[in-house]
Amino acid sequence: MTRTRPEGLRLVDTDAPPDRPSRVVDDFTPELIDVGEHHLCPGCGEPVAMRSLVEVLAELGLVQRAVTIFGIGCYTAFSNNLDVEVLQALHGRSPSVATGVKRARPELVCVTVQGDGDMVNEGLQELLHTAARGEAVTCVLLNNGVFGETGGHMTATTVLGQRTKNTLDGRDAHLHGQPIRAADLVAQLDGAAYVARGAVNNAGNVAKTKRMLQRAVEVQLSGAGFSFVEILTMCPTGWFIRTEEAPGYLTDTLAGVHLGGVVKDIAPPAR
């Protein structure tokens, strides 16, 4: 959809801060991201999710207690670009790595950042074992239904009908199998205390997702068990569509199978 020029309104100068009394409520790059510039594609949902995550860590006052554990995918561009401590894991291995960090230093808050290729393909087993163990870590899944980094191939979460590099006519159950609904699978495990699924395809979803991330980290702090937030993100490049179509495409495809909302919350309410 293209918008037309709003009627009757004047253009505002946006090159410099206003000269009237005001306060900054959002300041370009979030303070915990070192360098705003990155090589992710136009319209990519991953930086949006990253912003929410680091804002949550800052708002909860956990900046000096947090270790983030990164998987391998496009989001790895942020693993050397944060002002929180980062441990880079191999493709798929983050949940076990987070387990090691947390067990060795239980006072830390451990959050993994992984894509669907990383977590639901290469590392599904580690995710599920970590969840079953009730490990007090938070795993965050950036789910775009493709291996973005390697060129947009189908992953284990690609929904039926979704376009990817090797399913240009849409994923077909007969040819390519069925998608895995990661959050629902995790919720099935008794060790999982909090499981939710958000998205970053519009401002409302971004705000909801941020609340989920906050709750997940709080659950980790409570010691109630494993917490998990899946975030549906746009990948216009891997979906082979235009950036402005991506939010709607997400709604029509991924979000119709990977249903949004809090899937499970058996942790005590936050203090």
Binding site: Q88, S96, T99
Partner: protein
């Protein structure tokens, strides 16, 4: 330090705990299982953590995480389990993570895997191969020191005999070497928000402040230099016996070397000019010990419980200056857990004697 009669698997566990290891993760596989069981008993009382990891990949992942916090951490398996860990070991070396990996091997055929880095890339890991239980108790703390000094995984290569032999051994706390570098790189959360939050990664060790992305060319180059430095700097450990005037030098490592050493002592007692060299560090290999002997001996004989792997390192050290005869070969029983009929002093003696005969080496008094 107290002196106790301990089975090798327990002595190794005791030595790990004594060396300050506070995190262990493993997945059962005979004869590594025994070490895992002991660690599960010994770590909790000292405030450590032992994880019954759900697989080998998860075990090394956990150790990766624990080591990144600066904890002394270890995992292990048999060579087969280590095969599964090769990606992690290689990249952990790039990420400069210090931890110890035990290979309670089922033969000596994992020598290449251990010494050449079975994984991808140029990395190497120091490898320590104890001959018996008391030496294992000595080498385990050294393994942790080497890991911390070089920020690199270190392997300890044992076997079924080591795991299941009980010996009198000194165990107790062995503090880390006093001159180890501080672990100021280790993650503890505190550097967050400083503008220089720590990063532990196989892609680079500095966060970008300008420019975009990792520069792998730069990072690989620097780590490559570091590996070369490590290989040059670690003093190889080696045991030699009777090499001063030996005409035949027999080379062996690990438990089988105990059989070979016995054969050499027997022959020496009978006046045969035979010597013994035992690499204790398999990497770095004690090449100079061998190359120094090469001009003076008539031959080398190499025993390994494998089709012949270390024999390459002996040849690379000797470089044709003396003949190198392989007298090993894989030997195992039907279980393949690591016991073999050839590991018998009489069998090995006859092999050494065949080399002696071929090179016309006789007891001194007979010449």
């Amino acid at each position: 330090m107290s002196r106790r009669l301990l089975e090798g698997s327990e002595a190794i566990a005791e030595a790990m705990v004594g060396a300050g290891c506070r995190f262990f993760a493993g997945y059962p596989m005979t004869p590594f299982t025994e070490v895992l069981e002991h660690m599960a008993k010994k770590l909790p009382p000292v405030g450590g953590v032992c994880m019954n990891a759900e697989s080998e990949l998860e075990a090394i992942g956990m150790v990766w995480g624990a080591a990144a916090t600066g904890a002394r951490a270890a995992t292990g398996s048999v060579g087969q389990g280590l095969s599964l860990m090769q990606e992690s070991i290689s990249e952990a070396s790039l990420a400069r993570l210090p931890f110890v990996v035990l290979n309670m091997a089922r033969s000596q055929a994992d020598y290449f895997q251990a010494t050449r880095g079975g994984g991808h890339g140029d990395y190497r890991t120091p490898v320590l191969a104890p001959i018996d239980v008391p030496e294992a108790a000595e080498l385990v703390p050294l393994a942790f020191d080497l890991a911390d000094r070089w920020r690199n995984p270190v392997l300890v290569y044992g076997d079924y005999y080591l795991a299941h032999t009980s010996q009198s051994v000194d165990v107790g706390t062995r503090p880390p070497a006093a001159d180890l570098p501080a672990k100021d790189w280790a993650l503890d959360g505190t550097s967050g928000g400083s503008g220089r939050a720590r990063l532990v990664s196989f892609l680079g060790d500095v966060k970008q402040r300008d420019g975009v992305g990792y520069d792998l060319a730069d990072y690989y180059h620097r780590v490559g230099e570091h590996w070369a430095d490590m290989a040059r700097s670690i003093e190889p450990l080696v045991e030699t016996r009777h090499t001063e005037d030996a005409e035949l030098v027999v080379v062996a490592f690990g438990s089988p070397a105990k059989f070979i050493r016995y054969v050499v002592e027997e022959l020496r007692a009978e006046g045969v000019p035979v010597g013994f060299v035992r690499p204790i560090t398999l990497f770095p290999f004690p090449s100079t010990t061998l190359s120094a002997l090469a001009p003076r001996v008539r031959a080398f004989a190499v025993y390994e419980n494998s089709a012949g792997q270390m024999v390459d390192d002996v040849r690379l050290a000797v470089l044709g200056a003396a003949p190198v005869e392989f007298i090993g070969g894989l030997t195992m029983d039907s279980s393949a857990f690591g016991i073999g009929p050839d590991l018998d002093v009489r069998v090995l003696r006859s092999r050494v004697e065949a080399v002696l005969a071929a090179h016309d080496i006789t007891p001194e008094e007979h010449r």
